[in-house]
C-alpha cells in the first residue's frame, strides 16, 4: 500500500500519466521526478500527438505544456474535454513562472491545476498525487454506490420473491383454519377450537407481515402502479369502517364515521387508498384501550379533501414523531391487547399517499389521543 500521508489507503501504483511537452529536456526532467512513484508514463511532443496517444494510452492524468508549436495546450485540453466529457482525465497545465495569465486561461480551458517551470520535484509529486488520489476516491465512490444500489435492488427482489412465495401457503393455512373454526369439517372440541384459532391468528399476522414486506419491496423497486379513478372518499372510508367494526368489536371498540355535508371526490387507486384507511383504523383500534370509540371524519376544502382518524391512545411521543412514517419505525408505544405490529404500515401509508400527491400527518389531541390526517388533491 502507498504510504502517502494524505490518503494512506489509496494505492496509486500503475496509474497512467501522459506528459505533453515539445521540449524533450522538460519531458526527461518529469520522467526523472516521477521515476520512483510507480506510475506508468507516456510522452507526447505535441498537442496533436497527445490527442492521438490519449485514445490508446487512456491516462489517469495529463501534464500539459501550454506553449507548443501546432495546437497549444489550451486547445488540446478543450479538445480532450469535448471528446471525453466527464470521463476525461484531469489536466495539469505546465507553464513558465512569468506567464501568470496562463493560469487563469488554463482553468478556463478545463485544467484542474498548474505547475510552474522550473519544476520543484516535491511540488510536482505532491500535486500529482493529490489529483490522482481525488480521482481514485471518486472512482471508488462511484463503484461503491453502484454496488450498493445493486445489492439494494437484489434485496428488494429477494424480499419480493420470498414474500410472494410465502403468501399462497399462508393463505391456505389461514383459510383452512378459518373453515375448521367454522366447523366446516365437523364440530370441534373447545380445546381443538382454541388450537385452530391460534393457527388462524398466527397465520393471519404472518400473512399481514408478508404482505407489508411485499408492498415495501414493490414500492421501493418503483413498481407501485396506481389504477386511478374518480372516487368518493366517504364511500371508501365507510366500507373500511364497516369491515373494521367487525374486528374492533372483539375489543369492545366502536368506530364511528361522521357523515360529511358534502361528498368530496378524489382521483385515487381505490384498493391502495382502502389499504391506507384500513391501516389507520386498525392502528387506532390497536393503540386505544378496550372499549374505546374511534372517530373517522371527512374533510374538504376548495383544493384538498381527505379524512382523519382519531384514536383514544396515548398519542405520539414528541421525541419519536420523526420515526413514525419511516420503514420499521416502531415507537415505544405498545398495542393495548397484545396485537402485532411490523412497523411498516405507516411507512406504506405515507408512500401510497405521496404517490397520489397527497400528504399524511399526525396531531396529538391533548388528553385524548392522536389524530392521523390524510389530505389529497380534489378533482376540480
Amino acid at each position: 500500500m502507498d504510504a502517502s500521508p494524505i490518503h494512506p489507503s489509496i494505492d496509486l501504483k500503475g496509474r497512467r500519466i501522459l506528459a505533453v511537452d515539445d521540449d524533450r529536456i522538460n519531458l526527461r526532467i518529469i520522467g526523472g521526478i516521477l521515476r520512483h512513484e510507480g506510475y506508468e508514463l507516456a510522452e507526447a511532443a505535441s498537442g496533436e500527438q497527445a490527442l492521438e496517444l490519449y485514445a490508446t494510452f487512456h491516462p489517469n492524468l495529463v501534464l500539459l505544456d501550454v506553449m507548443m508549436p501546432g495546437i497549444d495546450g489550451f486547445t488540446t485540453c478543450r479538445t480532450l474535454k469535448k471528446t471525453y466529457g466527464d470521463k476525461c482525465a484531469p489536466v495539469i497545465f505546465v507553464t513558465a513562472k512569468s506567464e501568470a495569465d496562463d493560469v487563469v486561461m488554463g482553468f478556463d480551458a478545463g485544467g484542474v491545476d498548474y505547475l510552474t517551470k522550473p519544476f520543484r520535484p516535491k511540488e510536482v509529486v505532491a500535486r500529482i498525487r493529490t489529483h490522482l488520489s481525488n480521482q481514485r476516491l471518486v472512482e471508488q465512490q462511484k463503484d461503491l454506490v453502484e454496488q450498493l444500489s445493486k445489492a439494494n435492488a437484489a434485496k428488494d427482489r429477494f424480499l419480493g420473491m420470498c414474500a410472494h412465495d410465502l403468501r399462497n401457503p399462508l393463505s391456505s393455512i389461514r383459510g383452512l383454519a378459518e373453515l375448521m373454526d367454522e366447523s366446516a369439517i365437523g364440530t370441534l372440541s373447545p380445546e381443538q377450537r382454541e388450537i385452530v384459532q391460534t393457527i388462524h391468528g398466527a397465520s393471519q399476522s404472518m400473512l399481514l407481515l408478508v404482505n407489508e414486506l411485499l408492498d415495501v419491496a414493490t414500492i421501493e423497486a418503483g413498481h407501485l402502479k396506481l389504477d386511478r379513478a374518480p372516487t368518493s372518499i366517504y364511500e371508501i372510508v365507510e366500507r373500511s369502517v364497516h369491515l373494521s367494526n367487525i374486528e374492533a368489536a372483539k375489543k369492545n371498540t366502536r368506530i364511528e364515521i361522521v357523515k360529511p355535508r358534502t361528498l368530496p371526490m378524489v382521483d385515487v387507486d381505490r384498493n391502495k387508498m382502502r389499504q391506507v384507511v384500513d391501516n389507520l383504523i386498525n392502528n387506532a383500534v390497536k393503540y386505544s384501550p378496550r372499549g374505546s370509540t374511534i372517530t373517522v371524519l371527512i374533510h374538504s376544502s376548495a383544493t384538498v379533501a381527505g379524512f382523519s382518524v382519531r384514536d383514544n391512545g396515548p398519542g405520539i411521543p414528541e421525541n419519536e414523531r420523526h420515526k413514525l412514517f419511516k420503514d420499521y419505525g416502531r415507537l415505544s408505544t405498545k398495542p393495548t391487547d397484545g396485537e402485532k405490529s411490523t412497523g411498516l404500515g405507516l411507512a406504506i401509508c405515507r408512500k401510497i399517499v405521496e404517490a397520489h400527491n397527497g400528504t399524511i400527518g399526525v396531531d396529538n389531541i391533548p388528553g385524548r389521543g392522536a389524530e392521523f390526517i390524510v389530505s389529497l388533491p380534489v378533482i376540480i
Binding site: 403468501r167 401457503p169 393463505s171 383459510g175 383452512l176 378459518e178 366446516a184 400473512l207 402502479k225 384498493n271
Partner: protein, 139 residues
C-alpha cells in the same frame, strides 16, 4: 350459496385446491372436480362438463390465460373465474378480455372469496342453475 351446479377447480398448488374445495363444500357445492394444471383441466372439462371453472393464473405446463383461451374455444359460454394471488391488473384485464367472468384473490379471507363467488354465480346463472348467457364483465 344458491348453486346446484358443478365446479372445476384448477390450481397447481394442492393446498390451495384443498382450501378452496373445502370452502366450496362449506358453501354447499357438492360436485367439485380438481386439476393441477391447464392440460389436465381441459381433459376434465371435456369429460365432466362443469358449470363453472375456477382457474389459477400462474401454473406450470399450461398457464391460466392459455387454458382460458382453450376453454373458450371448447365452449364459448363456459363461466370461468380467475384465481389470482397478486392482482396484476394487466393479467386480469387480459383474462376479462378473453371472456373470464370475474377474478378472485385467493389470499382474501374465505368470507370474501365466498362473496365474490356468489356474486359471479348470481350474475351468470338463473336461480335454477341454468346458464344466464354471456357473462358480464366484473364490476
Amino acid at each position: 350459496m344458491n348453486f346446484s351446479g358443478s365446479i372445476l377447480l384448477v390450481d397447481d398448488e394442492s393446498h390451495i385446491r384443498k382450501f378452496i374445495s373445502l370452502l366450496l363444500r362449506h358453501l354447499g357445492v357438492t360436485r367439485i372436480f380438481e386439476a393441477p394444471n391447464g392440460m389436465e383441466a381441459l381433459e376434465v372439462f371435456k369429460r365432466e362438463k362443469p358449470d363453472l371453472v375456477m382457474l389459477d393464473v400462474n401454473m406450470p405446463v399450461m398457464d391460466g390465460i392459455e387454458t382460458l383461451r382453450a376453454l373458450k374455444q371448447l365452449d364459448p359460454d363456459c363461466v370461468v373465474v380467475m384465481l389470482t394471488s397478486l392482482a396484476n391488473r394487466q393479467t386480469i384485464d387480459q383474462a376479462v378480455a378473453l371472456g373470464a367472468a370475474n377474478y378472485i384473490r385467493k389470499d382474501a379471507p374465505s368470507e370474501e372469496i365466498g362473496r365474490a363467488l356468489s356474486e359471479t354465480i348470481d350474475t351468470c346463472f338463473e336461480p335454477d342453475g341454468t346458464d344466464a348467457g354471456a357473462p358480464p364483465s366484473p364490476q
